[in-house]
Each structure stands twice: as C-alpha cells, then as structure tokens.
C-alpha cells in the first residue's frame, strides 16, 4: 500500500510541477503573482475536452492546440493589460489578475455551464505493473509528458536566444534593456509561455480529473507551495519540488489521513517561506525586485 501511495504521489507530483512552471517563471521574471494562472489550466482542459468531444482527438494530440490557444491568451493579457499595470505598482497586479480570474471563470460558466465533464481516452482504464504496484497508464503518461515539457522549457531557456533574453531580464532588467532586449516583449513572451505550459498541464489533467469551470481552485495550493519550495523563477526547482510535493501529500494522506494533506502542505509552505525564502533549490536573486 505504501509503495502504491508513493508511486501515485510522485506521478501526480510531476503534473503539479508542470502546472507550476509557468506561474513560477512569470513571478521570477516580472514579479507578478498571476492569480489567473489556474484559469489557464482550466481553459487548457476545456480545449482538450472540446476537441475530444467534437473531433474525438486524443488528449496527447490536442495538447499542442491547448498550448497554442493559451499562449495567445497569456501573451495578449500581458501585452494589453498587465504591462500597463505593472508600470504603476507591482502589487496592483495581484488585484488585476484576480479580476481576470473572475472574468475567465465566469465566461467559462456562461459558455459551457458549470456541469462537470470528463475526457475518457480509450486507454483510460489500462494499468501498468511497476515495482509491484499497479500504475494507471494515464497517470504515467501525464507525469512523463510533464517531465518532457519541463525539461524542454529548461533547455529552451538555456539554449535558445529568446530563452536567454528571458533569463537576462529576470537577472537584471535595466542591464538587459541596455543590451537591446525589450522588457515589454520579454514579459509578454514569458506570460505566453507560462500560460502555454499551464494549458498543457490542463490538457494532461483532463485525463485524470473531472473538467469544470472551478477545477483550477484545486491547483492553487499546489502551485503556491511548489513555487516557493522550488525557488521562485527556477524551472528545475519547480520540477523537483513538484515531485517532492506529490510525495509529501501522498505520505501525509497515508500516515496522517487525507484531512491532514492541506495542513501539511501549508505548514511546509510557511516553514520554507520563513526559514528559506529563496526556496530549497533557488538562488536569492530571482523575484527579488518585487
């Protein structure tokens, strides 16, 4: 039983890690806490649901479409709303993104009603035997794809020139501006990429969880805890912290009971914030210009 709980927790943690990467990057690069981030996850799941229902498209195949749609949305919101707001006050962005979250959630309810939907791929009930445990194939797929996307984004930041521009802006905004990098464009690009990754996480989670306009709420705690645990703005930290968070949650449920899961998560969160605010793996410079 313990082995089963451990494997399930780790696999779920992979998905949580991917759901957090975009949020953490946006916070690290421009200091914005994007409360609408979980709405991007929810909308990504709806894109997948829609394509699955209308065209019978497999969630893995429709994931790029969800990512593209969320990239456009994230880019647009940053370009036309948030870039103007963060020039006046950073903390105002907290309120604005709260407003955006209200709008996106309510628009989804109006468009799709608040009915709970589900995406049942043909292999939804298949399981794989691993280390003496039975692992559902969809969970394995979700964790695997999450890891692939996380690593791909990490490589993109380190190798591609656009990624380098994002990292440079996170490190020193004024200096990167002097080097010919336009921070406004980098911000929009980061927000778009962050939203795209959230959309991918939504796509993958539609195979695991029911799809509803309020499904994003269940990600909020995980997203905050993993961001702080991994170090703000650190992709590799996010991925590792995601697995760690999944493991801690699974063990808390196993040893203490499911009702203690949240308490353990928040205790971990507050402890890390107070004792090691740069996160377990982060360095102190990211997100410091808040």
């Amino acid at each position: 039983m313990l082995a089963q709980a451990t494997v399930n927790g780790i696999l779920l943690g992979g998905l949580y890690g991917l759901a957090t990467v975009g949020f953490s990057m946006v916070w690290g690069v421009m200091g914005v806490i994007n409360l609408a981030h979980t709405s991007f996850i929810m909308l990504g799941a709806y894109v997948t649901y829609f394509l699955f229902e209308k065209l019978g498209m497999d969630p893995i195949v429709s994931m790029p479409f969800a990512m593209a749609a969320m990239f456009v949305l994230g880019y647009g919101i940053q370009r036309f709303i948030l870039n103007g707001v963060i020039r006046t006050s950073l903390l105002l962005s907290l309120v604005v993104t709260f407003g955006i979250d209200l709008v996106l959630t309510d628009a989804t309810i109006l468009a799709f009603t608040s009915d709970v939907r589900s995406v049942n791929a043909s292999y939804a009930s298949t399981s794989v035997a691993m280390f003496g445990t039975l692992v559902p194939l969809v969970r394995l797929l979700a964790a695997g794809m999450s890891l692939v996307l996380g690593v791909a984004f990490f490589v993109f930041l380190r190798r591609a020139s656009l990624g380098q521009a994002i990292l440079a802006t996170a490190l020193d905004r004024e200096m990167s501006n002097l080097m010919g990098i336009n921070p406004q464009k980098v911000f929009a690009l980061t927000a778009g990429a962050g939203a795209a990754l959230a959309g991918a996480a939504g796509s993958l989670s539609s195979m695991l969880f029911p799809v509803s306009p309020t499904m994003g709420v269940s990600f909020i705690a995980a997203v905050f805890v993993i961001t702080v645990l991994g170090g703000i703005g650190s992709v590799e930290g996010c991925i590792v912290a995601g697995f760690l968070y999944g493991l801690v949650q699974a063990w808390a449920a196993y040893f203490l009971g499911t009702s203690y899961q949240e308490i353990v998560a928040f205790a971990l969160f507050l402890a890390v914030l107070i004792l090691r605010p740069q996160g377990l793996f982060g360095r102190a410079f990211f997100g410091e210009h808040a």
Partner: protein, 329 residues
C-alpha cells in the same frame, strides 16, 4: 511600491476641508436615520457595507499606512467570528463574545506577526493568504467547541428579528465610525509617523531609531482587532458559521479591492471604497444574475488601469487638469 504614489500626491487644497467635514456630517446623519425608511433588503446591504468599512479600515492600517500588503487579512475576520461564536456557544453573553473576538484576533496577530512580518513584498502577501487557507483546515481539525467541519450555530437572540437587525446595523455603524477615527488618530500619533516611515523606507526608518519590528507588529494587531470585531458581530448576525464561510479568502481580497478603489493610506478612502464596490456589486448582482462575476472582474481590471491610486485621487487629478485648462481665465 506605494511610496512613489505618495510622493506624487500634491499638498491638500485647504478649500476642500469644510466641504469634506460637511459631507461626513451629512453622511453620518443619513446613516443614523437610514433604518427608519429602508426595506429589510437594503438594511442588510447597508450593514454589509459598514462591515466592509471596518474590515477595509483594518486593512488600511497594515497595507495603506504600513505598506505591508496583507492579502489574506480575512483570516482575522474568521478568527473573530470563531472567537465570538465559540465563547457564545460556551455560554458567554454577546458583549463578551465581541470582546473575545477583538482580543483573540489581536493576540493572534501579535504572535504570528513576529515571524511573518519579517517577510517583505510578495512573500508577506502570500504568507497571509496561506495563513488564511490553513486556518480553514485547522478549524476543521480542532473540532470540539468550534464545531469543526459541520459549522457552529450561535445561540439565538431573544429579540425580535427586526429590532435585532437594526441593533446590529447600529453596532456596525459604530464600528465603522470608531475604526475610521482610530485611523485618523493613528496618523497623528508617533506610531503612525513610524509606520509611514517604514512604508516609505524600512531601512531608513530603522536608521532613524524606530523599532520597526515592534511598530509593524503593533500595526498588524490594531488591524486584526478591527477585522476581528467585524467578524465577531458578523457571526452573531448570521448566527451560523462554518470554516469556509468565516475564513473565505474573498473577504480579505474584497477589502483589498475596496482599499484600492478608495485610495490607500487616506482616512476616508476605505469608506468610499466600501460603499462604491459593495453597492455597485449589489446592483450588478440584481441586474445580471448570471454574469455578475464577469462584470465585477471587468470593473476591477478597469479601475486598476484607470485609477491605480483610487477614485478620489483620479477625481482630483481630473478636476485639476480641467481647472488648469478652463479655470485660468
């Protein structure tokens, strides 16, 4: 941060002073007489508005004056509600319950403030949100006198509903007046100067000899006491509380938006913000039953873009630019 916004603010034009005092006096008289002539529905709406005046003034102390963005200050609303509810369930009278609400909330802020107020900027903001969310789970786990996940029913009053609701209205009105007076007084006291110095530059304040930790913790305790009062009275008003309604993060977030609408760090800003947002959202709710959240969200976005320093500030700016264009002749 908020420091720059304050530096930009011009010296107050003295001509406005008497007008403001007149408006405050007229407003108070109207609010005192209001229960005589309005329906039960609008009495409820106005009581909610006044409750939010108290909560927003509490937030004003820590956010507007001290510059620590306690996004999850609603935690003290819940603590107040549960302190009042639990002590009344144990047999204490309502007055003792409200006192307990104020005292327990302030004590919690004193204890929690010590480690948490060391965090700055966003870190402090989200730590308070985590506190708010954790409180829901903690109350569920404690169970016992708090009622746990099943919620807590407060003893019913022996009064008739109508005079009881009017009494609670006046209690909230008194709370709103007192909390506004506390903010006005605080701005005149040395503590208020210390807090504003911390907001503009914490390091400079420390260099000037201010015990910044002590000042910040005191400020949060005052803020928590006000918020706890609102929570305690609210608990008796609705007579049934549960963890997710008492510790609703929306309470703190809504007060934060009201503070932005009214203008941070001012005395009357939170009052204006509470009235504007609550009455507008009530009207929107009535007019657009399905899309009210969408419209509220759009409203928040537009206000933050158009008037990031509050509608009072935006209004005076607009008036000044209009006068410099037309009134010069």
């Amino acid at each position: 941060m908020s420091g720059t916004a304050v530096l930009e603010r011009p010296a107050k034009v003295p001509v406005f002073r008497p007008v403001v005092w007149m408006a405050v006096a007229v407003g108070l008289v109207v609010l005192c007489l209001a229960p005589l002539g309005i329906s039960a529905y609008w009495l409820r709406v106005l009581t909610t508005v006044l409750m939010y005046v108290v909560i927003t003034q509490g937030l004003n102390v820590i956010v507007g004056i001290t510059g620590y963005h306690a996004f999850g200050n609603g935690v003290f609303f819940g603590i107040g509600a549960y302190a009042c509810g639990s002590s009344m369930a144990a047999g204490a009278p309502f007055a003792a319950g409200v006192l307990a609400a104020v005292a327990v909330s302030a004590a919690c802020a004193l204890i929690l403030g010590w480690p948490i107020l060391r965090l700055k900027g966003h870190y402090f903001a989200i730590a308070t949100v985590a506190l708010n969310l954790a409180a829901i789970q903690i109350v569920i786990q404690i169970g016992g006198i708090t009622g746990g996940a099943q919620g807590l029913a407060l003893p019913l009053s022996t009064w008739e509903p109508k005079p009881l609701y009017v009494a609670i209205y006046y209690l909230m009105l008194a709370g709103a007046v007192v909390s506004t007076a506390i903010v006005a007084l605080l701005l005149k006291l040395p503590l208020g100067f210390a807090l504003r110095a911390i907001r503009d530059s914490e390091r400079a304040a420390a260099v000037m000899g201010i015990d910044t930790t002590k000042a910040k913790v005191f400020a949060w305790a005052i803020s928590a006491a006000m918020t706890g009062f609102a929570g305690g009275v609210w608990a008796y008003w609705i007579t049934f509380i549960e963890p997710s309604s008492a510790f609703d993060p929306g309470v703190g977030v809504k007060a934060y938006i009201m503070l932005i609408i009214g203008g941070m760090g001012s005395i009357l800003g939170p009052v204006i913000g509470a009235f504007v947002l609550e009455i507008v959202s009530t009207l929107v709710w009535g007019g657009f039953l399905k899309a009210h959240q969408l419209i509220l969200g759009l409203l928040i976005i537009v206000i933050c873009i158009v008037a990031p320093n509050g509608i009072v500030d935006a209004g005076t700016r607009l008036a000044r630019s209009w006068r410099s264009r037309h009134g010069a002749a």
